[in-house]
């Protein structure tokens, strides 16, 4: 017993670091402008940002308002901006942040109205989630047996990838530039959840779901992968959105501008192996699109006259065509 106690590592004053927190403060009930409040703590480098904020609230300033619950990256309540990055405060240690930035600036999440201090109104986030109909839609003619579990093969389970791990913290929604710029984009979390139901073998609404999402935001994803960086559970929403796009293209073809562009690009490269920029406009937007783009095209042509010329085919274009023939009709992940 005594030997075990000797092995305990104690945090001495020297092993702590000074952590300057600059915390966003705003209370609309009191009016005035939002401001940053500086608080300084001495903390061990591995201390989670959330622990620091709770110490501030409990020991320095009881008016600091924040949302949290489990402190263990399970409940998804404490997403916020840590030095401008969308993060769960409970699983972001203070040490590396102080080392990189000299301080820790804390803001509420982006893309949602601020209620008070670090608490945002998550209603828009949840509304978009609900629009995905995030539940099994069963075929009424094939009811699930009441007393036996439904079996799934390992390959079927694998198709969910990491989407069931999502804790709906909203970090991806906060990090997403498409959400920021366009109210028509449902956000990474909603689309990752949609993917989870699209690949569920028990769901009967796959085609309807894909059709609906094609016209309600799927093709507004920028594939910037900022959601994948922000996600504390490694759900990788940007990659599942890519999967949704491919599933939609393969099942429904070029019904929308977005899918037409993907298919147009694919066909464009089959011809010469290299991009024919001018032709791509026609392939995606049609003749009307070409006419609409004419004034801008002329402007560009004056500086870059070669845009009207089709590039020569690459050497070995026959190889490219054969690769297309070998792989074009096979559907991904449908076995």
């Amino acid at each position: 017993m005594a030997a075990a106690e000797e092995k305990l590592t104690k945090f001495t004053e020297e092993s702590l670091v000074t952590v300057p927190f600059d915390v966003y403060r705003y209370d609309p009930a009191k009016g005035g402008e939002p401001r940053y409040q500086r608080y300084e703590l001495r903390l061990a480098p591995h201390t989670p940002v959330l622990t620091g904020l709770l110490r501030i609230r409990d020991e320095i300033d009881p008016t600091l308002t924040l949302r949290y619950s489990c402190r263990s990256a399970i409940c998804g309540s404490c997403a916020m901006l840590v030095n401008s990055k969308s993060r769960l405060a409970c699983r972001t240690p203070v040490g590396p942040e102080v080392q990189a930035h000299g301080r820790i600036v804390i803001d509420p999440m982006r893309n949602q109205p601020i209620l008070r201090d670090l608490v945002v109104d998550q209603q828009p986030f949840w509304t978009r989630y609900e629009q995905m109909e995030p539940h099994l839609i069963l075929d009424p003619s094939k009811p699930m047996p009441a007393d036996t579990p439904t079996r799934m093969s390992p390959a079927q389970v694998e198709r969910f990838r990491d989407t069931p791990r999502c804790i709906a913290c909203g970090a991806c929604y906060s990090a997403c530039p498409a959400v920021e710029a366009d109210p028509g984009f449902p956000g990474p979390m909603a689309l990752a959840k949609l993917y989870r139901f699209v690949v569920d073998p028990r769901d009967s609404a796959t085609q309807g779901r894909l059709k609906k999402i094609q016209t309600s935001g799927l093709w507004l994803c920028l594939r910037c992968h900022l959601c994948t960086e922000a996600c504390p559970k490694d759900v990788r929403p940007s990659e599942r959105i890519r999967d949704l796009k491919e599933l939609a293209v393969q099942a429904q073809g070029g019904t929308e501008l977005g899918s037409r562009h993907a298919i147009g690009f694919l066909n464009n490269i089959e011809e010469r192996g290299t991009l024919n920029e001018l032709k791509l406009v026609r392939q995606t937007a049609g003749v009307g699109g070409v006419l609409g783009a004419l004034p801008q095209g002329l402007r560009i042509w004056r500086k870059k006259p070669e845009i009207t010329k089709a590039p020569p085919p690459i050497e070995g274009i026959d190889q490219v065509k054969k690769i297309y023939q070998a792989l074009e009709d096979k559907k991904e992940g449908q076995e």
Partner: protein, 294 residues
């Protein structure tokens, strides 16, 4: 240094000035570029959305061409860098490799996965090295404040790209400093330029581009610089439309990465194709012009 040069589609067409500047800079730094007229398009993220395995196979062919010549690849586009790197990673999955091999083997193409893919920004900062680069600077870009704009696919997904932070990189800013410019740090530097949805919803794409240009400007940038010709299309070629989308005139010149380096190493604006930009770079060049070469 000898590298298989993968210019990508845009640098051979509307973005030819990027190819010109790359060749000039590589010559000045004794980097031998080996051209392969057989390289095909990387798919630009669009083929990937329509048919992932086809896209991987096309890039396996590209990688195999460089591999056969025993060379690593040099890219000058963030998207090319992303797509070729991801192809290498996806081909490590035996299921994917099996399907790709089945398409490539009958054509006599063998992909083994030994070719590394590096973007010019990585070659300059890691292989040439900032000290060596600094030693070659004859016209420091002193006084010029430049906002680096990375382009998503060069950084993310960071686990796969595995060379810089996905959200807080420094390589480009350090390079700008090495050539005498003052880097400007702003949130937009790691954000999206809007290009992937330019065809789908131009007004949203342009608002996104405008946000980043405004951000750079608000932080004092005289100019922006990008390692990605697709970002260059959004930020420079379409800047007139972007200005309309945000409701005010932006007027921020946007350099390609090797143009900034080329200027510092003594290249003339003509050699770097600066006259091909839609937004004039004259004012930015004039800022460093007082130290122009004889």
């Amino acid at each position: 240094m000898r590298l298989a040069y993968y210019p990508g589609c845009v640098a051979q067409e509307s973005g030819k000035e990027l190819d010109m500047a790359t060749r000039w800079v590589c010559k000045a730094l004794a980097i031998e570029l080996v051209s392969f007229p057989s390289f095909s398009c990387c798919g630009s993220g669009f083929i990937d959305e329509a048919n992932e395995v086809l896209n991987v196979a096309l890039n396996a062919r590209n990688l195999a061409i460089a591999e056969k010549a025993g060379l690593d690849m040099l890219t000058i586009c963030s998207t090319c860098q992303g797509m070729l790197t991801l192809a290498n990673i996806r081909l490590a999955d035996p299921k994917v490799k099996g399907r790709v091999d089945a398409a490539l083997k009958p054509l006599g193409i063998e992909y083994r996965g030994t070719t590394k893919v590096k973007h010019l920004l990585q070659v300059l900062t890691e292989d040439v090295g900032l000290e060596a680069l600094k030693a070659k600077v004859v016209r420091p870009l002193a006084g010029l404040k430049v906002g680096a704009f990375y382009g998503c696919h060069l950084l993310r997904p960071a686990d796969e790209m595995s060379w810089e932070s996905g959200e807080e990189p420094h390589a480009f800013e350090e390079l700008l400093q090495a050539v005498g410019a003052t880097p400007v740090y702003y949130r937009g530097r790691v954000m999206c330029c809007g290009f992937p949805i330019q065809f789908v919803k131009p007004e949203t794409a342009e608002r996104i581009a405008g946000r980043q240009i405004d951000d750079a400007k608000a932080h004092g940038a005289d100019a922006m610089a990008t390692p990605c010709p697709l970002c260059h299309i959004s930020l420079d070629t379409y800047q007139n439309q972007v200005s309309k989308a945000v409701g005010h005139r932006l007027d921020v010149p946007v350099f390609h990465l090797p143009q900034v380096v080329g200027l510092a190493l003594g290249a003339s604006p003509e050699e770097l194709g600066l006259a091909r930009h839609m937004v004039s770079t004259d004012a930015a060049v004039a800022k460093i012009g007082s130290r122009a070469l004889a």
